[in-house]
Subunit: 333 residues, 2 copies
């Protein structure tokens, strides 16, 4: 029996929000693994803000996805055939498997999952967003007990974990999120000290109210006006973690830089970029610590799972419209 693979190729460079016509959804027969290869049947595929950057024709930490190429995506699946001694049929694996149903791979960049929690957790708290939050906050942000930590996109996959880890570390935590449902969630369910609804509040004024002595650590996932508002409220010696800039990824013009960056000077503050790739060798240790916090009820995660690979072009937009509730992913049929 010949299996059929379905996959999304990048058909055109999107301008602003990616449209369905920017993608090509194609079918092809699944190949047989050659010596050293394995075949993975995808189960869940992660949808991430970084995807919007990967399809820009711009130099970054990875080369852009080329026109006509398989869309890059993190995913998780089960090995359905293997001629690679590191992997056996039935193993659960994760990696950059692409936006498709079946991935044929030589095994590079693919890791076995030692399954101890529900599968989707390996794309959220135990996956890239969880590791980003853990290392971005603790290594780059360097929060100390009693400090004021502010995080944007606070109800998102990274922001929820950042805020909860900051609470575990004894910080005072304020989250910035869009809409009352998200704000309620981070305060009532996750224990943030306060939430600022950027859709209905003046972020600068609300930061002044909730952080009367200023911000020690600002973890930025959004860029734009919210980063600029946070810059006006930082304290001396503050650390700003640059993790993402989702407000800017679908711009049709250039990215808007932080007009208030000279606040770094008057406050002797630091703005530092981080990439989770750099911490691959410490993921197991971080996962173990986070699993302990989850077991103790101190760390929660929420996944927003949408059925069907074919929905990718529309589902992706939930990220940029701030419509996802938790870590967004596709369940492959």
């Amino acid at each position: 029996m010949t299996l059929t693979n379905r996959k999304f190729l990048l058909a055109a460079r999107p301008v602003g929000m990616p449209k369905r016509s920017d993608w090509a959804y194609v079918e092809e027969p699944v190949g047989e693994p050659k010596e050293g290869e394995l075949l993975v049947k995808l189960l869940y595929i992660s949808l991430d803000p970084a995807m919007r950057m990967w399809i820009n024709d711009a130099r970054s930490y990875m080369p852009p996805v080329g026109i006509g190429e398989l869309m890059r995506a993190l995913g998780l699946g089960v090995v359905s055939a293997s001629r690679n001694p590191r992997f056996a049929v039935g193993d659960h694996v994760s990696g950059l498997l692409g936006m498709q149903e079946y991935a044929l791979s030589d095994g590079r960049g693919i890791a076995k999952i030692d399954l101890k929690a529900a599968l989707p957790k390996y794309l959220s708290v135990f996956g890239m967003p969880g590791m980003t939050a853990y290392f971005g906050l603790l290594e780059t942000g360097q929060p100390k007990p009693g400090e004021m930590v502010v995080v944007s996109a606070a109800a998102g996959a990274v922001g929820t974990i950042v805020g909860q880890i900051a609470k575990i570390k004894g910080c005072h935590v304020v989250g910035i999120a869009g809409g009352p449902e998200k704000c309620d969630y981070i305060v009532r369910d996750l224990g943030f000290n306060a939430a600022i609804d950027y859709k209905s509040e003046d972020v600068k004024q609300s930061l002044r109210k909730h952080c009367p002595e200023g911000i020690d650590v600002y973890f930025d996932n959004v860029g734009g006006a919210i980063l600029d508002a946070a810059l006006t409220q930082i304290r001396r010696g503050a650390r700003i973690v640059i993790c993402g800039a989702i407000s800017q990824y679908c711009n049709t013009g250039p990215i808007v830089g932080p007009s208030n960056y000279l606040s770094l000077l008057s406050n002797r503050a630091t703005m530092k970029g981080m990439l989770v790739l750099d911490y691959a060798d410490r993921n197991a240790q971080a996962s173990a610590e986070m699993a302990g916090w989850m077991a103790a009820g101190k760390l929660k995660s929420r996944e927003d799972i949408v059925e069907g690979l074919a929905t990718f072009p529309e589902t992706l937009l939930k990220l940029f419209n701030s419509e996802n509730a938790g870590k967004l992913m596709l369940k492959v049929a």
Copy 2:
């Protein structure tokens, strides 16, 4: 005999470039020092880019100069009368003495100068610009031997010292300056490896040419388009020292933020602000080291000395028109 003091007060908040009508030049009798006070006759007054920030109505590391108040300025003078036991008539002193001929002071923030070099050097290499360069480069920039260091406003009071110290520390140094005279000066006289004339070259392309493997330390005095160009050429782990933003100080609109700041993320780079005030207790040590380098012929400084306090409004503009050759200061008649 009653002495007459002449001084500049801030008369109006400037919009863009400060005009003469933004200042009031007034005369008044010089007061007698009361118990604990001293009277300083100003000899040299420093003109600094930061002055433009001090007269904006905006929160910064110091409160803004108020309308009708004496213009803030660093200066250097000789004690002409003293009822303060720390100071004797004839002592040379420096501090925030104001834009005036005579300063009556309680001695706070005023330091005695142990005169070992020509007086103007205490406002340049042994003064605020020299200390800014020394601590900004070595503490904030953390250059290592063999690294690529780029500095903007490279022929200015801070930039010349930054580049020379970087050379002393074994770095490869590229300076960005305006016009052939300044570019020749930093390469031929000061030993920079290369100069980029931002008035006639495409800075981004020239940086790519002179820094083929990218920039490790970028010391920014200018902000704006040059900061943005440098951000496109940084290497992984780069450090960007935010020392000033002279291209932005006379804007009539908001400061332009660095559009390419997400390069911090893809390069895991750091942008950090520094203020020389924080290193006051280590100035003596830095001055001693710099004096050694000067004696060895490894460190040079140049001063641009303009005669007459009354020229202040026009002389100040040389900074923003990039017309000064070396550390700009007034010689008080």
